[in-house]
Amino acid sequence: MQWDGNNGNGDTQRAYDALEAFEVRASPTFLSDVMQAAVEQPRRRSWFNRLLLAPHPWAPAALCVVVVLTLGSLLGLNYIDWPFVGKTPFAPIAAVTDERSGVIMETELTTPLVAFTAGLPMYYALHRGFDRAVAQPF
């Protein structure tokens, strides 16, 4: 008989009874076996959590800065010429200067927005990561 689901109405009760009678029980040692394995196995962590729970406490913060700087550089936001410092790859507020006169023509909020957009999830993950590390030190 092939599976087609059309085998007559009277069969339902028969199948129901057979399924009710179908019983499999766990062995008496099941609980202790699982509990022992649970105690012995290291708790699994995602790669993201492992990264956030790196040995050095400042590693996540450094990662956050790297991400923001990388994004800032990739988006070409390194065109502010700071006094004494020169061109920096990261500016609080990016500005477009006139090439000949050096006068700031307009300012934009792209860099802070990028920093905020990248930093917010990083901060959230960081916060949660540390929260977990404190709450569940394994």
Binding site: W3, N7, A15, F22, V34
Partner: protein, 172 residues
């Protein structure tokens, strides 16, 4: 929750649902499912911090068990395919696969187990979740991410099929 809290929660879950999950895994795989059920509880233990209580613990455990059984079935199919290829290379001849357990028996338990293996995987999962009043249609729908109507339809279809097979085999 501390690690000790998670272990206590795991122990409570095992005490409450061990037989149901072992039965489900055995029915899904067609053989002793205790090892797989063992892994199901360990997966649940690892996932406990992410459990938000959107469903009941029982529904959640059944969903984990179903996903893990699917993975085991996929791995088994792949392994058998490779073994068959290897056998063909070694012996140079096609051979029929060995008879599944329960093929030559009149034991109702073994027959039900065998007939369950003839059902498509989603129907098998639904039948095992629904029988013995383990989960309601709505809870199964939640665990399998399908509509309640789909669950009802597949449950009815599977019951008809199993009933026909049992009638043919045992003359009930």
């Amino acid at each position: 929750m501390t690690n000790r809290g998670y272990l206590a929660a795991l122990e409570a879950a095992i005490l409450a649902y061990q037989h149901e999950i072992v039965r489900f895994c055995t029915g899904m795989l067609g053989e002793d499912g205790e090892d797989v059920a063992h892994d199901v509880f360990l997966i649940a233990y690892a996932a406990l911090p992410r459990f938000r209580g959107a469903s009941s613990v029982r529904t959640w455990l059944f969903a984990i068990a179903r996903n893990h059984c699917r993975k085991v079935l996929r791995d088994r199919t792949r392994r058998r395919r490779n073994e068959r290829r290897q056998q063909e290379v070694t012996w140079g001849a096609h051979r029929d696969p060995p008879l599944p357990p329960g093929q030559e028996t009149d034991d109702p338990q073994q027959l039900v187990l065998r007939f369950l293996q003839e059902l498509p995987e989603p129907e098998r999962a639904i039948v095992l979740m629904r029988s013995r009043q383990a989960l309601s249609h709505a809870e199964i729908a939640q665990a399998l991410h399908v509509s309640t109507r789909t669950v009802e339809r597949k449950w009815a279809k599977a019951l008809h099929y199993l009933g026909g097979r049992i009638k043919d085999a045992m003359g009930w």
